[in-house]
């Protein structure tokens, strides 16, 4: 029996399913996604941070304009990414192809959300925005258009009328009229018809962006124009030219006529906007949902069912913001889109109007998901830090958990991580990371590195341990390693007694090397009398005193000599291993030598001190 087993990896969110002989390490492929979308993630990070810091005091129109600009910035970043992807896709570099269509869909949805939610376009401008939107995103016909326009004799091209229809369907009247004029000059017989149609198209009332007319005025004008078109159609003006007649019907908003051009519209939302243009150009935002639903039904006609993208767009037309976010979360395999869009909508104060608790939680939920994903990348994790910073409820604890797991592959990376923790007063994480680095250094016998990490961790116990190792090494080898570090300990020397001793002991050696014997002597004595030195080290210290005692010049004063003698006696008398002392010949000899040296020094110094100067 084999028991399948799984476990989580903290870093790459992977898990394993071992069979009897194979282990599978599985990763969310967002890692690949992250790789190809690095620029998108980096640049959108900048936009996100700008938004978080932006002026909340700006009210009304200026705030709205600011938010619309942010939205446009996000979209331009998506488009830039698509451009890059196109190149990669052309070279058939694997996932890039899929990414282009996903990015394109994201931009499509975002653009619609910008129009409906961020800008909250009102009746009139709403239609114009939607027309722009359709023109920008339905590109399947672009190549056909280019082909016809660049041909020698466009009106003779077999797809000529298709292109005219495309222009009409997209409300591109000037371009349609321009093409028609070519047809008219090539076909004088239809000049009359052409002039009428051209005139109708020229006169068509459309909403304007400025305040030059009210909606009521527009509706009135539009009604008259519509009736005029109706008269011409019913009079049979265009009867002899089916193409022109069909165009006239389209102008009249005839659903069947428009639907006949399904292939040229390619999507139900194009159909929706065309319908609105020619039947209800003053459509109000809240009326959109009815037109959207019927458009989709008519267009799909029961032949096919809505795709995920269709449902998302429908939810947007219905102003169901939460539904849009929910559907996008399910369908898109990354959190980038929903996290940034939701954050923007939250700044527009749109989510709060639904339900404060629910709304603000959702923004944070999505940002946490997105940022967590970034942490699986070896460099993008740094962006994740900023996102966590702007999640007031759980951001800090998420950051604490994630930052601890960032692999400390190099010292540089460890320092980077530490800076981030220190800036945020994450003391426990600082301590832990330093401890991990200290441990690693110690295992590899890099005592200097281990010591600096424990000092940074303010880990007294560990500092003591490493100091002991240094001292042990010194006793064995007779010299110190990492002198630079020990010489420059500064106030951190005080972290632990043992560390202080190490620093001071090294100082003693330095003083001796610089021949500053009196200072060295004083220091040596202090190390023992102030109990900075551990008892185990006293013998070594006393032995270090020997060369000082045997200098030609007397260094230790009488008082100091008495102190040294007392230390020696304390050491030998109070030593439980007295037996050991007595048996060990080397130890006994050392003690004897010391006693002799001390006695001699005492003799000399008594004389010296007793001598009157100058005599």
């Amino acid at each position: 029996l084999c028991f399948p087993c799984c476990t989580h990896s903290p870093y790459s969110q992977a898990f394993l399913t071992p069979s009897s002989s194979r282990v599978f390490v599985v990763r969310r492929d967002q890692d690949i996604y992250i790789h190809t979308l690095r620029k998108l993630f980096n640049e959108s990070h900048g936009i996100f941070m700008g938004l978080q810091r932006s002026e909340e005091e700006l009210a009304g129109k200026s705030r709205k304009a600011q938010l619309v600009q942010v939205s446009k910035n996000y979209r331009s970043v998506i488009r830039a990414c698509m451009e890059d992807m196109h190149q990669a896709a052309a070279l058939k570099l694997g996932p890039a192809f899929l990414q282009v269509s996903i990015l394109s869909a994201m931009e499509l949805i975002w653009n619609l959300c910008e129009i409906l939610f961020v800008e909250a376009a009102t009746a009139g401008p709403l239609l114009l925005r939607l027309l722009d939107w359709v023109r920008l995103h339905v590109c399947d016909v672009d190549s056909m258009v280019r082909e016809v326009l660049s041909s020698e004799s466009p009106s003779k091209h077999k797809l000529f009328w298709n292109v005219v229809d495309v222009f009409v369907l997209q409300g591109r009247m000037d371009e349609a009229r321009h093409l028609l004029s070519k047809e008219a000059s090539a076909n004088p017989a239809s000049m009359n018809m052409y002039k009428i149609l051209d005139d109708l198209m020229k006169k068509m009332p459309v909403p304007s962006l400025g305040n030059t007319q009210t909606l009521t005025e527009l509706e009135l004008k539009w009604q008259h124009w519509h009736e005029e078109c109706q008269r011409y159609l019913q009079d049979g003006t265009f009867a002899s030219n089916p193409h022109m007649e069909s165009i006239c019907k389209i102008l009249l908003g005839d659903e069947d006529a428009i639907l006949e051009k399904k292939e040229l519209m390619t999507t139900w939302y194009h159909f929706l906007v065309t319908r609105l243009l020619y039947s209800h150009p003053t459509v109000k935002p809240m009326e959109l949902r009815f037109y959207a639903q019927s458009s989709m039904d008519l267009f799909l006609g029961g032949e096919s069912s809505p795709e995920p993208l269709d449902l998302i767009l429908m939810a947007a037309f219905e102003f169901e913001m939460h539904q849009v976010i929910k559907e996008c979360s399910i369908v898109l395999s990354n959190w980038w889109f929903v996290a940034h869009l939701t954050d923007l909508l939250d700044h527009c104060k749109l989510l709060q109007s639904h339900n404060l608790y629910f709304g603000s939680n959702m923004r944070e939920f999505l940002l946490l998901e997105y940022a967590s994903g970034l942490f699986s990348h070896h460099s993008l994790w740094q962006l994740g830090v900023d996102y966590f910073d702007h999640c007031p409820q759980f951001g800090r604890v998420y950051l604490e958990l994630h930052i601890e797991r960032v692999p400390l592959s190099t010292e540089q990376k460890a320092l980077k991580v530490l800076r981030i923790c220190e800036q945020r007063q994450m003391h426990e994480q600082v301590r832990s990371i330093c401890k991990i680095m200290a441990m690693k250094a110690l295992r590899n016998n890099r005592l200097g590195s281990a010591l600096s990490w424990s000092i940074r961790a303010k880990d007294a116990a560990f500092a003591t341990l490493i100091s002991d190792r240094f001292l042990k090494d010194y006793c064995e080898k007779g010299c110190f390693s990492d002198l630079d570090l020990i010489d420059n300990l500064g106030p951190s020397m005080l972290l632990s007694d043992r560390l202080t001793f190490l620093g001071k002991y090294r100082e003693f050696h330095r003083l001796y090397g610089e021949k500053r014997f009196a200072e060295a002597a004083r220091l040596l004595l202090t190390l023992m009398t102030a109990h900075i030195a551990p008892c185990s080290f006293w013998m070594t210290l006393l032995t270090d005193a020997l060369p000082l005692l045997e200098q030609k010049e007397v260094i230790f004063s009488a008082e100091q000599t008495y102190e040294l003698m007392r230390c020696l006696e304390d050491l030998t008398a109070g030593n439980p291993d007295k037996q050991k002392f007595q048996d060990d010949d080397v130890e006994t000899t050392k003690v004897e030598m010391l006693r002799l040296a001390l006695a001699r020094n005492l003799a000399r110094v008594i004389v010296k001190e007793g001598t009157v100067e100058g005599s």
Binding site: D29, I330, R405
Partner: protein, 360 residues
């Protein structure tokens, strides 16, 4: 959605456990071939075996890493009635060149008289401590008082659970509001309705672990158990692998309301129960934020479970035993709307490119 890398583990018998280290760059496997292997991840993402050695004289059931603050330390437990602690020794330079490292045994814990079925290190804030559980129903907690001396471990507690134990989990919460806590699962097969999950909590007054709760609704053999990481929640979350996947919340009740002085009582709720594996569930494992649970079952699949912002748990991914996703089952679907184009070749290439992304 998922990319799988397959590693030929080269164990000569069944692999029973696999465990990532704290940073996810090292992995340990253990097997019925009595050995443990350690794998290291290189910069380009490949896994290399850097150590392989015989650890016990019986099947090795579990292997687990200590926190890197304690160095590179592993613990293993076995059918041979022992648990062992291992430390990596920085090797000779020619070993390093060959990409090999050595692990030495620091201690053997021989107190158990039956197969030791699980071993887990305690959360690092408790020091260097581990717990083992055995088929004879005893949970033992050991401590190494000097973290620099891994050969000295003392048995601090022996907890008699009265039922054969199969798994343990420490509560990772380092909050001062929570006493140390350990959950124990039993795979006892005899027909009874005894609770197969017990929760033991450390009592500061008596300085002993005492039983705080028993999950009475879990009466089938339990194969694995896991506390979720705590993100500042006041309550605990526990996942149980039994005949299905179950997720419980344990809300500590105010201590004044409890009868036994000093011990917390809990309000227990089951927040999810999934029988999708349609067979025994063998392992449950949490991600680092405790937001995703992975489970593996006898159906050969691994399932991922996640709670949405309304705290409803759902399956967000299924992987077959060979690492490939099950088609059409994942809610993280590929966005294959073709943007209105009826171009079938576009559809096909979309499908094709998603399939080619799975490496094997």
């Amino acid at each position: 959605m998922f990319v799988a890398r397959s590693i030929a583990a080269d164990h000569r018998d069944l692999i029973h456990d696999v465990s990532f280290d704290f940073h996810g760059r090292r992995m340990a496997t253990c097997s019925s071939d009595q050995s443990v292997k350690v794998w290291d991840k290189s910069e380009n993402g490949d896994w290399h075996c850097t150590a392989s050695w015989k650890t016990h004289s019986g099947s090795v059931w579990r292997v687990t890493w200590a926190h890197p603050e304690f160095g590179q330390v592993l613990a293993s437990c076995s059918f041979d009635r022992t648990a062992a602690v291992w430390e990596e020794i920085v090797g000779e330079s020619n070993d390093k060149l060959r990409g090999q490292s050595h692990w030495v045994k620091r201690t053997t814990l021989v107190d158990s008289r039956t197969s030791v079925t699980d071993v887990k290190f305690a959360p690092k804030h408790m020091g260097l401590m581990l717990a083992t559980c055995s088929a004879d129903g005893v949970v033992r907690i050991y401590e190494a008082p000097d973290v620099m001396n891994l050969s000295q471990w003392s048995l601090q507690h022996e907890i008699s659970c009265k039922l054969s134990c199969s798994c343990i989990s420490w509560n990772p919460s380092s909050s001062r509001a929570h006493s140390p806590m350990i959950a124990v699962g039993s795979d006892d097969n005899s027909p009874n309705i005894l609770a197969k999950v017990q929760i033991y909590e450390y009592n500061e007054n008596t300085r002993k672990y005492a039983k705080a709760e028993a999950l009475m609704t879990v009466t089938d053999p339990v194969h694995d158990i896991a506390f979720a990481p705590n993100l500042g929640r006041s309550f605990h979350i526990l996942a149980v692998a039994t005949k299905d996947v179950r997720i419980f919340t344990l809300k500590p009740l105010r201590k004044e309301l409890t009868s036994s002085g000093g011990l917390t009582k809990f309000e227990i709720h089951i927040v999810a129960q999934f029988d999708n594996h349609n067979s025994q569930v063998w392992r449950v494992s949490w991600n680092i934020t405790g937001t995703v649970l992975a489970s593996s079952g006898d159906d050969g699949c691994v399932r991922l479970w996640k709670a949405n912002y309304m705290d409803n748990w759902k399956c967000t991914g299924i992987l077959k035993g060979n690492g490939s996703p099950v088609n059409g089952s994942s809610q993280q679907g590929i966005f294959n709307a073709s943007l209105g184009s009826a171009n079938t070749s576009l559809q096909n290439s979309l499908n094709g490119s998603s399939a080619s992304r799975k490496q094997s």
